[in-house]
């Protein structure tokens, strides 16, 4: 990465966070500061689920920002996260996406590390005997301990693994805070999770657009015909927009109603299809689960890298991996619970047709994000307008609002010093 190391000039509209400058989505220097301050320092990033690596030696690869990391379970059962970069000459040594190992050995010169990232040995460290002579080897003052892999802080939220390059980051629960934490605990209460599978997309847009999308209760009833038509989401639903004290994390909480027509919210909504009926409605065979306690939908955004989805019976984590100013990878991990019966598992899998890169109510999110980025790229010196429900920040008791987006940028400006 060629660091631009240059000053950033930005002039904000008087309404500040109600007007987001396009430069935030297109400027390389801003992006590099984001990597540093949002992904590498002061924040916890999602790296996976414990059920992906159940046993000793199981590992998976993933990324935090642009840095490749390995999530591995050691003998003690503890989970470690290390950077996938050899301390010797920088090789990204691990090339399997998932696997099982007892040590990490770099292919180039076979420096080997234990599952905690400690350098445990390297060839010819003490030199090689040739007759009486000893050739080469490391200098006497060479200390293995100085050459471990980068190891990250790790915490698990009842099976959801977070890591941080910043060892001084606040504890996970205080980072998340109680407001959104409650909704985390609602899904992740300690029950064992089962892994259903992955979907991966590369979305040609700035990573923040995905955070905005899931902090935007304005769009689902308009963009996603399915939602409004089948009452999974509409503007007149009982909803809560929950936000943490700093304004960075949020929960969109809502309760499905019966769908169909309702002048207040469908009149003139061109995407509403009054007489749409399904030939085979098994994709909508929703069964209420006891633990819901009311809400049928909870969409959690944990800044900067995670979205947690409960849409009726469909559950997934969605990981945001930035790969440039105008592109990010988006990884979906669908899961269920250990005690789901076959019926419930089938139901979760059927409802998965609504989500992911091809899903009825999320393929189009990727599309509009791509088109937003194109709009920003057309001309650099403008700003978006986020004034629905005023220009303030904080939560709301309804979904006719862009307050969560404004809140995120309030926090963003503070940390980014922009």
């Amino acid at each position: 990465m060629d660091l631009l190391r240059r000053d950033i000039e930005l002039d904000w509209h008087p309404d500040a966070c109600a007007r987001v400058p396009y430069a935030l989505y297109t400027d390389r220097a801003i992006y590099e500061r984001e990597l540093d301050r949002l992904f590498y320092r002061g924040h916890w990033c999602y790296v996976g689920l414990e059920c992906e690596i159940p046993n000793f030696g199981d590992f998976k690869r993933t990324s935090i920002g642009e840095r490749d990391v390995i999530v591995v379970r050691d003998k003690s059962g503890a989970i470690n996260v290390v950077e996938n970069r050899c301390a010797h000459r920088g090789v990204q040594f691990c090339q399997k996406s998932f696997g099982q190992t007892k040590t990490f050995v770099c292919p180039y010169h076979q420096w080997s590390y234990d599952l905690r990232g400690n350098l445990i040995g390297l060839p010819f460290r003490k030199g090689v005997k040739q007759g009486e002579k000893v050739n080469g080897g490391m200098p006497p003052d060479f200390d293995l301990a100085d050459h471990s892999l980068t190891t990250l802080a790790v915490e698990s939220w009842n099976g959801v693994i977070f890591a941080s390059f910043d060892r001084d980051v606040a504890p996970l629960r205080s980072f998340v805070g109680p407001e959104v934490g409650n909704y985390m605990d609602r899904i992740f209460d300690g029950r064992e999770l089962t892994l259903l599978g992955y979907s991966r997309q590369r979305i040609p847009g700035n990573w923040k657009l995905m955070q905005e999308n899931i902090k935007d209760p304005y769009h689902p009833g308009l963009l996603h015909t399915w939602f409004v038509t089948f009452g999974l989401w509409r503007a007149d639903q009982q909803s809560q927009m929950v936000v943490d004290a700093r304004g960075r994390h949020a929960a969109m909480v809502s309760r499905k109603n019966d769908g169909g027509k309702s002048d207040a919210v469908t009149a003139g909504v061109t995407s509403f299809k009054e007489n749409m009926v399904l030939q085979d409605d098994r994709v909508l065979d929703v069964v209420i689960e006891p633990w819901w306690n009311g809400p049928t939908v909870t969409m959690l955004t944990l800044f900067p890298s995670l979205i947690v989805q409960q849409q009726v019976n469909s559950l997934s984590t969605r990981q945001i991996i930035p790969t440039g100013t105008d592109t990010f990878d988006f990884v979906w991990t669908h899961f269920g619970f250990k005690d789901d019966d076959a019926e419930m598992t089938r139901r979760r899998l059927r409802q998965a047709n609504l989500f992911g890169p091809a899903g009825y109510v999320s393929a189009d999110d990727g599309e509009v994000i791509e088109l937003s980025q194109r709009g920003f790229d057309q001309h650099g010196d403008l700003a978006t307008v986020c004034e629905l429900d005023g220009r303030g920040m904080g939560g709301a008791d309804h979904n006719v609002t862009e307050t969560l987006i404004r809140s995120m940028y309030g926090y963003y400006r503070e940390v980014m010093e922009l």
Binding site: Y198, W226, Q279, D280, R282, A352, E370
Partner: protein, 161 residues
Amino acid sequence: MIAAPVVSVADRLRIEDLYAEYSACLDEGRYDAWPEFFTIDCSYRIVARENYDRGLPLALLSFESRGMLIDRVYGITQTLFHEPYYQRHIVSGFIVKPDGNAFAVRANYLVVRTKAAALPEVYSVGRYVDRIVEHDGSLRFAEKICIFDSELIANSMIYPI
């Protein structure tokens, strides 16, 4: 390695014809005709190779009847906002085996996507693993699985593969 084929030449060519018509239907955007290539109680799945190989049940799309295919066509033509694109299917390497009254067919596919004012791009590559049945003189897919190598999807997948 290759024994004499046990599937008649006529059947073999009819099966290749089925894939040719199927590709043409999708590449020409005649989506309404697409469900007709399947049986009433068909199964159609698009599955990432990593999920398939690791035995994970998640599919990108998983449909269990022609009705669900018709619903998908409604979705892509009426409800699912997207930037339109052309598809072009290239299919080769047919392996045809009899399977009761049906045929078990595998083939490699490549789909090139072209968007307006953009260069063509390799969009999806993988393997078809299908079951084809005959019913009053015509062949249809009873089961079609598209297992794609291209696990990282270039944004979205709207049209069928």
